[in-house]
């Protein structure tokens, strides 16, 4: 039997806009959260969430109903985030204007400058440390760690989303965990452990 998402996707493909709105409601928070953790900026997280759904919409014809919808949408969103991280790395100067043509520079992407959705919630110092440590994770560990811990995905699912063997996912989870441990130990050791 098909799950809700696959059924909604099939309806949306036939032109049912309210079915697509249903998919957006089901997944917008997940996509936004994923992008926010990956990129550390609420502005960029919104952009990525919006672009993810746009891509889903324009590629509905290519969606294979036998595949899990969540795997498909997570793959699209993760790839968009990874692309942005790579582009960011490739730009050498923070003063360089961003390619979005809105005149923003790269400083605006720095997490600390962003009035994020978490500002309303008073973050504990510990959570702040963790967030900063995640921000410093190398990209290849970052996506795996975020999918594993913040999206509660199994190693198997992560493998499908990132299109890599489960053994690779496992290695990256281990290395990512080790990276975070060392980071937290060296910077906040006494306070955290």
């Amino acid at each position: 039997m098909k799950d809700t998402e696959a059924r909604l996707a099939t309806l949306a493909r036939k032109g049912d806009r309210s079915a697509f709105a249903g998919l957006v409601d089901l997944y917008k928070d997940k996509m936004y959260h994923l992008a926010y953790r990956m990129l550390g900026s609420s502005h960029e997280a919104e952009d990525v969430a919006q672009e993810t759904f746009l891509r889903v919409y324009t590629n509905l014809d290519r969606y294979d109903e036998n595949q899990k919808f969540s795997t498909w949408i997570y793959r699209i969103a993760t790839n968009l985030c990874i692309d942005r991280l790579r582009k960011r790395k490739a730009s050498y100067s923070l003063d360089a204007e961003m390619p979005d043509g809105e005149g923003a520079d790269w400083y605006s992407l720095l997490p600390s400058n962003q009035p994020g959705p978490e500002d309303e919630v008073l973050l504990s110092e510990t959570q702040n440390h963790i967030r900063k440590a995640i921000d410093t994770l190398p990209e290849k560990y970052k996506s795996v760690v975020i999918l594993r811990y913040l999206q509660d995905m199994s190693l198997q699912e992560i493998g499908e989303v990132l299109d890599m063997p489960v053994t690779t996912v496992k290695t990256r989870v281990h290395r990512g965990r080790e990276f975070l441990r060392k980071k937290l130990h060296s910077e906040y050791g006494g306070k955290l452990f």
Binding site: H33, A49, Q50, Y57, E118, V121, I130, H174, R181, H185
Partner: protein
């Protein structure tokens, strides 16, 4: 168990993929080795802290903005999709369409008098009419297009008259059949026959 063996096992344990024996061995090592014990506690703490990161929700108006940004799904997608799924039929129908078009344009453009046959010196053409006088003989098929035909002599083959009238006198002998074609469709059938029948022979 050495410390080098213990570290990967700690990760396996935190992944939830150790069996009972492995877990027991790890525990034994952790009780003996304070350094590994510390690392294990830190890893466990890291895991718990990362998991406890608060979920952030998308802005309330995000659904609206997304729905407004969607392009209108073009209707032509439906037949384009069909074309993509049936490439062979699509190509064949385009080919047929072009072929039909060329036949029809040949039909409507070319209204001049055309005579096709083997020994045309036997014929007399006057005022858009083709005469085969008495005593003259044409061997093979005779095709006349865009004009009338008057047969008084002998025709040793088929007579094809396209877009015109034909008359035969009592002296006329026509050994084959007479085709009189006045419709584009009939013309098409005749052309197709011309292409395929000799090839089949």
């Amino acid at each position: 168990m050495t410390c080098d063996e213990a570290l990967p096992l700690m990760h396996e344990y935190l992944d939830g993929s150790t069996d009972g024996t492995e877990a027991a061995e790890l525990k034994k090592h952790l009780l003996q080795c304070p350094e590994c014990n510390r690392v294990f506690r830190e890893l466990e703490m890291t895991d718990a802290l990362v998991k406890s990161s608060p979920h952030v929700a998308a802005p309330d108006d995000l659904t609206d903005r997304i729905m407004k940004s969607l392009p209108v799904r073009p209707k032509r997608e439906s037949w384009l999709g069909w074309v993509k799924r049936h490439p062979a039929i699509s190509v064949a129908s385009v080919f047929l369409f072009v072929m039909l078009g060329s036949f029809l344009s040949m039909w409507s453009q070319d209204q001049e008098l055309t005579v096709k046959g083997s020994n045309l010196d036997q014929l007399v053409i006057e005022d858009g009419t083709v005469y085969l006088p008495k005593g003259h003989r044409v061997s093979g098929n005779l095709m006349v297009r865009g004009g009338d035909v008057q047969i008084d002599g002998e025709l040793d083959g088929n007579l094809v008259v396209v877009d015109g009238q034909y008359h035969t006198a009592s002296t006329a002998t026509i050994s084959g059949k007479i085709y009189s074609i006045n419709q584009a469709a009939e013309w098409l059938v005749y052309q197709v026959k011309e292409i395929f029948v000799p090839a089949a022979q």
